[in-house]
Amino acid sequence: MIKWRKWIRILHRDIGYIAAGLTVIYAISGIAVNHVADWNPNYSIEKSVIKIEPIPDSILTSRELVFSILKKIGEKGKLKSSFSPDPNTLNIFVEGNTIEVDLKSGEVHQEKVTSRTLIRETNFLHLNAPKEIWTFVADIFAVALGFLAISGLFMIKGKKGITGRGAWLTALGILIPIVFLLIYYYKIF
């Protein structure tokens, strides 16, 4: 007789080891993106406002104007480009900083962006931003998780296995989403 339970344990153990890293990545990102309405899971954005002298009708070229503003506010980051959404506003894009200048009032709004290291990378993978080969990896991971869930049910025999306590706990796990959906869609209970 094939000792199928032994093989299930071996496969569950080894696939479990391989899946551990990705499971942690998906768990961290799962919490991070669950709360996207309350915080930005990828970036920390620091906003500030300062005032410089108004620049209503500048004789400088737009490039000279950009550099003179950067000097005034002490920004030394690498300049990427600039844009005027209207005649009185100038947006300057510097590495890690977006500067919006109200030329009439001299009000300067800055938005400094820093990446949330590690969490951002976990979101990148969890939300399958890279696509292509990562779709394949994520599909294999999903199949592996399915196998771990099913094989986990049959690893232990006896009272604490799927014929005893395990059956009740498994039923509870299945009931949680069903009850939620009944409440959510049909207002039952």
């Binding site: 996207v36 970036y43 480009s81 844009f83 959404p85 005649p87 939300l127 931003a129």
Partner: protein, 153 residues
């Protein structure tokens, strides 16, 4: 096992260099060869509705939370156009702001009633942290590009 581990790390490094060499690519491969000026679309938007276009411009804003849209500066002053992508299909990082994007997509029209325009303006004010003035909001029609693919340098 250790060798396999090292080979995988080496391949990932190579892949990352390849990805960065000719700009960051998003979504589908660009197929339209001829560029359309953004100003041309904004001047006669109805002529472009439903058409696939290739546009180029500086990325002047990026969706902060989901990376699901970018705004491109036009070739004419004070103009810009929004490129919206399907959530999750393409995610634009904030670091792309200020860089030059080449975007392929379809032009479409959005008509908003006054109520919907109010909702949108309120949402945008919250997103940008600016003041929301409902007195200036009217029913509106505007035009966007549904982004299918992009290369940003």
């Amino acid at each position: 096992m250790q060798r396999l581990f090292l080979v995988l790390i080496g391949l990932s490094f190579f892949a990352s260099i390849t990805f960065c060499s000719d700009g960051n690519k998003y979504g589908k491969k660009l197929t339209v060869k001829e560029k359309t000026k953004i100003s041309a679309i904004l001047e006669k938007p109805k002529d472009f509705i439903g058409k696939k276009v290739l546009v180029e411009g500086t990325v002047v804003d990026v969706c902060k939370k989901r990376g699901c849209w970018i705004e491109l500066a036009s070739d004419k002053p004070y103009q810009k156009i929004k490129v919206k992508v399907n959530d999750g299909e393409i995610v634009f990082p904030l670091e792309e702001k200020g860089k030059t994007a080449l975007v392929e997509g379809e032009v479409y029209e959005i008509k908003l009633s006054k109520e919907k325009a109010l909702e949108k303006a309120k949402h945008e004010a919250e997103e940008h942290g600016t003041k929301f003035d409902p007195s200036k909001i009217e029913a509106t029609t505007y035009y966007q590009i549904k982004g299918l693919g992009a290369v940003i340098k």
